[in-house]
């Protein structure tokens, strides 16, 4: 036998060379920084957030006001940078308001999903037993229901409103998160340091939040990031159908819907929300991809 264990180098024929052991987080951020798409996405999203924040205090015009001395369907001009809509309202202001709504709905839904999903998942995965069985059966039954159908119905029941739409969309989205967290809790639970913690008398709550949760954080964050574009898309579609954010509030989806009807006359009105939605959704997806690649332990070269 070889006399000494030699950990430094391994055969390279298809394997990996590990020259230094770097912490997972540090390594992850390093890789994330190298992913140019994810960085670009992050920059764009930061700007978008800034725009939305600015919109709280100031927009060129009031997004709901029908301006008396403007024409409808104006093309972009100096006075109206993005033109006006079918009722003569300034599109730039409406788009800024739409940005607010999309971001609030997206992030808000993600937070709800995060909270509910993580708690349920942790409880099911860690305590197992009958709690887990009940939760799992529940999730398995409803897992297959298309979220959009449930969202439509729930939204009608709850009544129109920003918070309600977030609740309606999270109604099915939390189950994916719960499943993920449950799986993570399952496997992390088996690791030795959990046994050590338990043996030293730590209470369940402390173990759950102090040990298991931090270790599962990677995939959880990635999943939460991906919920945002789904939520934004669902809200956009509901507004597009007329089932979403009530007017005169401007959501990108409702602007798009009004724009679609006016397509033969004026392409701009549909163009702006189309671009905004596409780029924003792309950005979130690229960011999520970047996060996932950065923190996937199997991808370490």
């Amino acid at each position: 036998m070889a006399a000494i264990a030699t950990p430094a180098l391994e055969e390279y024929a298809g394997g990996t060379i590990a020259r230094e052991q770097v912490g997972l987080w540090r390594d992850g951020f390093r890789r994330l920084r190298r992913n140019r798409l994810a960085l670009a996405a992050l920059v764009y999203l930061t700007l978008l957030v800034l725009l939305a924040v600015v919109a709280i205090f100031w927009t060129p015009y009031n997004p709901a006001t029908i301006l008396p001395h403007t024409l409808t369907f104006e093309a972009p001009s100096a006075a109206h940078l993005l033109g006006t809509d079918d009722l003569g309202r300034d599109l730039l202001s409406r788009m800024m308001q739409g940005a607010q709504i999309s971001l609030i709905v997206g992030v808000g839904t993600s937070l709800i999903v995060l909270t509910v999903g993580v708690v349920v998942g942790l409880v099911a995965g860690y305590f197992r037993g009958w709690i887990d069985t009940v939760i799992s059966v529940f999730i398995n039954i409803f897992y297959g229901i298309p979220g959009i159908l449930v969202a439509i119905i729930l939204y009608l029941v709850l009544g129109r409103g920003l918070l309600n739409i977030m609740i309606a969309i999270s109604a099915t989205a939390w189950m994916d998160m719960a499943r993920l967290v449950r799986g993570q809790a399952f496997s992390i639970r088996e690791r030795e340091y959990i046994e050590a913690a338990r043996a030293s008398g730590a209470r369940s709550g402390k173990i759950l939040f102090g040990h298991i949760l931090p270790n599962a954080l990677g995939p959880i964050i990635v999943q939460a990031t991906f919920v945002i574009p789904i939520a934004i898309l669902t809200e956009a579609f509901l507004s597009y159908l007329g089932l979403g954010i009530p007017s005169p509030l401007a959501s990108w989806g409702s602007i798009a819907s009004e724009g679609y009807a006016a397509l033969p006359l004026e392409p701009y009105m549909m163009l702006w929300p189309a671009i905004a939605l596409s780029v924003t959704l792309l950005a979130f997806n690229f960011l999520g991809d970047g996060l996932r690649d950065a923190f996937d332990p199997r991808q370490r070269r």
Binding site: A3, T6, R19
Partner: protein, 367 residues
């Protein structure tokens, strides 16, 4: 002496990674005669697998063969086109790998995988393939071969899988079979069976075998000649008997001293080799083993020793050689094998008289 079927001359393979150029194999030369059994021994990372993969052109990005010649039946494999290489693989030179479970496709039947090796080449007539497949399985001593041939890999035991892999390798009656750590993933008893099987097949079919392993015991059972590799170079080669009984290179010698033996006396101490193998990106000057060698001399720091003959049919790359170590440095009674301990030579020119060093060692407490 017939012409060797495989002659490797000065082979060098490097890996161009983000961290630097890994010089995994440097200037390796050896040859294999028809029907011969050759063992290549060395620890993990010494380049033995990479050498084998280079022969068949299986080295993947970022690795690349950067120099040398690989003469197979008189033609240089490194100059072959992709298609010509593909022709050789599995047909004239076959290779089997370490873990038979992961080496077989889990969704295809065992028989299918053996047969496809034959269908892919033109050596075995199409109609003979299926019956030969069953026959091969019998030859490698898998019982109930006719039924077993239709099983999936997960239905075989570990030893049976490796036998199936051997069958796959020999299916086209190759001139050379390269076995890369074929027994490492198996139980000890199964290991012995596989080795015996390989020996018998070598006699029956006349196929030459290159056995790659880090386990000296495995080599002793099967191979007539042995190559010892360290840090990408060949440091010693000779017959099995020579290597085991009269090793000339300090590395080989140290390896043998570190293997526990059932027949050793109670007081016999297991000696370890201190230190780690060198960084293949940033190689030290001189002999690559010098940072760990108990018998090094001044020259070892600056010049890399060439492979030279030390006995009939035995070659080693060392300025000192064990012969001299036994004669002048007390290798026979050595207790401390830390670098430079026996020769008293250390980097920076500090040379302590050998006798004083030995006295100091003898007087030191503990290990």
């Amino acid at each position: 002496m017939t012409d060797p079927i495989l002659e490797v001359r000065n082979l060098s393979t490097h890996f161009f990674t983000d961290d630097g150029e890994v010089k995994a194999v440097r200037g390796v030369s050896f040859s294999v005669s028809p029907g011969e059994t050759l063992g290549i021994v060395g620890e993990s990372g010494c380049g033995k697998s990479v050498t084998a993969m280079s022969v068949l052109g299986l080295v993947q990005r970022p690795g690349k063969v950067v120099g040398g010649e690989i003469m197979f039946k008189g033609r240089d494999l490194l100059k072959f086109t992709k298609e010509e290489l593909r022709n050789i693989r599995g047909r004239d030179i076959a290779m089997i790998f370490q873990d038979p479970l992961s080496s077989m496709n889990p969704v295809l039947r065992v028989g299918y995988q053996i047969d496809e090796a034959m269908y892919a080449h033109d050596k075995i007539p199409k109609d003979d393939v299926k019956p030969r497949g069953i026959d091969l399985l019998r030859q490698v001593r898998v019982s109930d071969a006719e039924r077993r041939i239709n099983d999936f890999p997960h239905q075989f035991s570990g030893g049976m899988r490796q036998r199936a892999m051997i069958a796959m390798g020999l299916s086209n009656k190759p001139d050379l079979l390269i076995a890369d750590e074929p027994t490492t993933a198996l139980d000890v008893t199964v290991q012995a069976q596989i080795l015996e099987l390989l020996r018998d097949l070598n006699e029956q079919t006349g196929a030459a075998i290159i056995l790659i392993t880090h386990n000296l015991g495995v080599v002793a059972g099967l191979c007539k000649r042995v190559l010892v590799m360290y840090a990408g170079e060949i440091v010693e080669e000779g017959t099995a008997e020579q290597i085991f009984e009269r090793p000339q290179h300090p590395y080989t010698w140290s390896l043998l001293r570190s293997v526990p033996r059932i027949d050793a006396s109670r007081g016999h101490r297991l000696l370890s080799i201190e230190g780690l193998p060198p960084d293949l990106i940033d190689l030290p000057q001189g002999c690559k083993f010098n940072p760990r060698c108990p018998f090094r001399v001044e020259r070892c720091f600056s010049e890399s020793p060439p492979i030279e003959q030390v006995a009939p049919a035995q070659h080693a790359a060392c300025w000192v050689t064990m012969e001299r170590a036994y004669a002048e440095m007390g290798a026979g009674t050595i207790t401390d094998t830390s670098p430079g301990a026996a020769s008293g030579v250390h980097p920076g020119g500090r040379t302590l008289p050998v006798a004083e060093v030995q006295a100091a060692i003898g007087g030191a407490s503990g290990d």
